[in-house]
């Protein structure tokens, strides 16, 4: 099974993380980069300001985090501490400012500390409602406006509605393309593995979006001809805390699993849906972000579990692997609810507690392999 040329290109981008080649080229043109921390920061606003939105994450190895552990308490998850460690080591110096949201305690504390110790300037913390509906949307719209104003004041620039509309179309393009990529994985022989898909997702938020869209279009053409047999493999869904670690998925797929869909916030939850045009741009953004595949912190929780069940049917998933970064409360509390729903629908689920950046260690391989053997037995018994 030969490597995909476009995935190779994106792997190069990821290899030079955090100061990737595209970001270097962007900075050399004297342009600005704005970091963002959570799915509910509307990237279009940053893009419309003529700046490069880059998602603050760490990457595929478990970092030694002396600074992370010293400035952030161990009860802040290792995701936030890894980001702090990289920022403290100066690996995010190319970032001119960042936007956070009040989505979870961990990201709030990270924003507090990065700003207080003058490591990365915090532009604004977006207050995101936890319910759906018009009133929540109106409040969230106000917050997006505040965020826009804060970015304008911070960089002393103007962001016009036309620029936002333009950015919306660029980002909608990505959503279309990623939807087509995911649709291909519904087939009984998906042409792209879970590890390769994550390579694409990781790169999407580490380079300028127009260039990424072009690469994604070429990749979709490549995938037309690519034949990959998934005979004897078990179709899996990965859900849980944010996952950037390619090694983790590779470890699962080497054991005979095939990751066909996910429910993580940098995966299906990131590109789901489209921003409707023909509306005032800020309201359109508020409506889109509040109603896409939701994060577990939203009420009622049933909205999210139904979406997960739909995905399981659409992608003929045989088993769900739910990975939780230790102290990640959002997903620690989502798991018992999702588990009870999946039990009722007879879908096996495996819970893995791990640290962010963990590869497929011995402990994880044992569990995943046993889980796959269990699913194999379930299939044979049918």
């Amino acid at each position: 099974m030969e490597n995909l040329e476009m995935v190779e290109k994106l792997r190069q981008v990821n290899a030079s993380f955090p100061y990737t080649e595209p970001i270097k080229r962007w900075k050399e043109k004297g342009k600005k980069v704005v970091g963002w921390l959570c799915n509910y920061v509307p990237e279009e606003i940053i893009h419309a300001a003529g700046m490069l939105p880059v998602r603050l994450t760490a990457d595929s190895k478990e970092l030694e985090m002396p600074d992370g552990d010293a400035y952030l308490h161990i009860y802040s998850c290792s995701f936030t501490r890894s980001i702090f460690q990289l920022a403290k080591e100066g690996q995010f110096d190319f970032i001119d400012g960042f936007v956070a949201t009040a989505m979870c305690d961990g990201s709030r504390r990270l924003a507090d500390v990065l700003n207080e110790y003058k490591i990365l300037p915090l532009i604004y913390t977006l207050g995101v409602p936890r319910k759906f509906g018009d009133r929540a949307e109106a409040l969230y719209r106000g917050e997006i406006l505040n965020c826009k104003k804060k970015i304008e004041d911070f960089f002393d620039i103007e962001i016009s509605d036309e620029a936002i509309k333009e950015s919306i179309s660029v980002y909608n393009r990505t959503r279309q393309l990623l939807r087509r990529l995911y649709d291909l994985r519904k087939s009984s022989n998906p042409p792209i593995s879970g590890a390769e898909t994550l390579e694409v997702l990781n790169a999407s938020v580490r380079m300028d979006r127009e260039e990424f869209n072009q690469i994604l279009e070429k990749l979709l053409q490549e995938l037309e001809e690519r034949r990959m047999s998934s005979e004897g493999k078990t179709r899996l869904m990965i859900d849980g805390s944010i996952l950037n670690n390619i090694e983790f998925i590779k470890g699962i797929e080497d054991l005979g699993g095939l990751v066909v869909v996910d429910g993580v916030c940098n995966g299906a939850r990131y590109w789901d849906g489209m921003v409707e045009d023909g509306f005032e741009p800020i309201s359109a953004l508020a409506h889109y972000y509040l109603n896409k595949f939701p994060c577990p912190r939203f009420y009622p929780p049933g909205v999210r579990t139904d979406r997960v069940l739909d995905l399981i049917k659409a992608y003929q998933v045989e088993g769900v692997i739910y990975e939780i970064i230790r102290y990640c409360n959002t997903h620690t509390w989502d798991y018992p609810i999702l588990k009870s729903q999946l039990d009722e629908n007879g879908i096996p689920i495996l819970e893995l507690d791990l640290e962010y950046g963990t590869g497929a260690s011995g402990r994880i391989k044992t569990r995943v392999q046993a889980f796959l053997e269990m699913l194999q037995e379930k299939k044979e018994a049918k």
């Binding site: 002396p66 600074d67 552990d69 010293a70 400035y71």
Partner: protein, 267 residues
Amino acid sequence: MRAAGVDISSLTTKAVIMEDDCLRHYKVIISPEKAETAAREALTQALIDIHLGWADLDYIINTGVGRKEISFAKERRSQVSCLAKGAHWLFPMARTLIDVGAEHVNVVNLDEKARVELFVENDRCAAGAGVFLESLANLLKISLEDMALEALKAEKAVNITSTCTIFAEQELISHSYAMPPVSMNEILLGIHDALAARVIGLAKKVRIVPEIVLCGGVARNPAFVKSLEKRTNMKLSIPEEPQIVAALGAAILASEALKAHEGSSHQ
């Protein structure tokens, strides 16, 4: 004028005797059950070594982990202040003190007058203290000294990330299966690096400001010192007898109290 300091901790008890501002003698014993007997035993043995009796001692201060009341001690002072006093006496430019014992690790920031500005203690997990080295050494059926010597032979070290000592054992075993193969020396250096990483992680919760004094039982381990110096990229000042710094501090505080006593009785 003779003053004495006694530091009682869970595994060992240390006694130091000062005579007119110089260190006359010290003694380290394995702590028996009761704190009172531990302190008395240590001081008695020290006095016998220099042919003196209890009557010759004018002021005794005790310190150590836990609030142990000692009948014959005039005063009890916190271990942290005694550590600061002792380190300052040995190295007047000391501003950071790292005390790595068997189960407890303290990192203290002190000012030019040996006053404690900030201090931090290790939390309950043992992977950050001396017992981490001991338990891995007896898993590998090798003495602490040999483990250190073998570790020093390695150029690069294996990365051991488990925070729990028992899982570090499991990680050792998985390293031995690693592809490409890893030498035993690199694994041993990895163990000392892991402990140094955890101690530095603790120290970063306060300030790492030169001059840095390293004391406590583990300070005698050359491989650990090398790993720690690599991480701080600063030379560490290590007293010849790193275990007695707290007891020494207590003795110095006792002699200062004596001088203050004497001064006031003269006026």
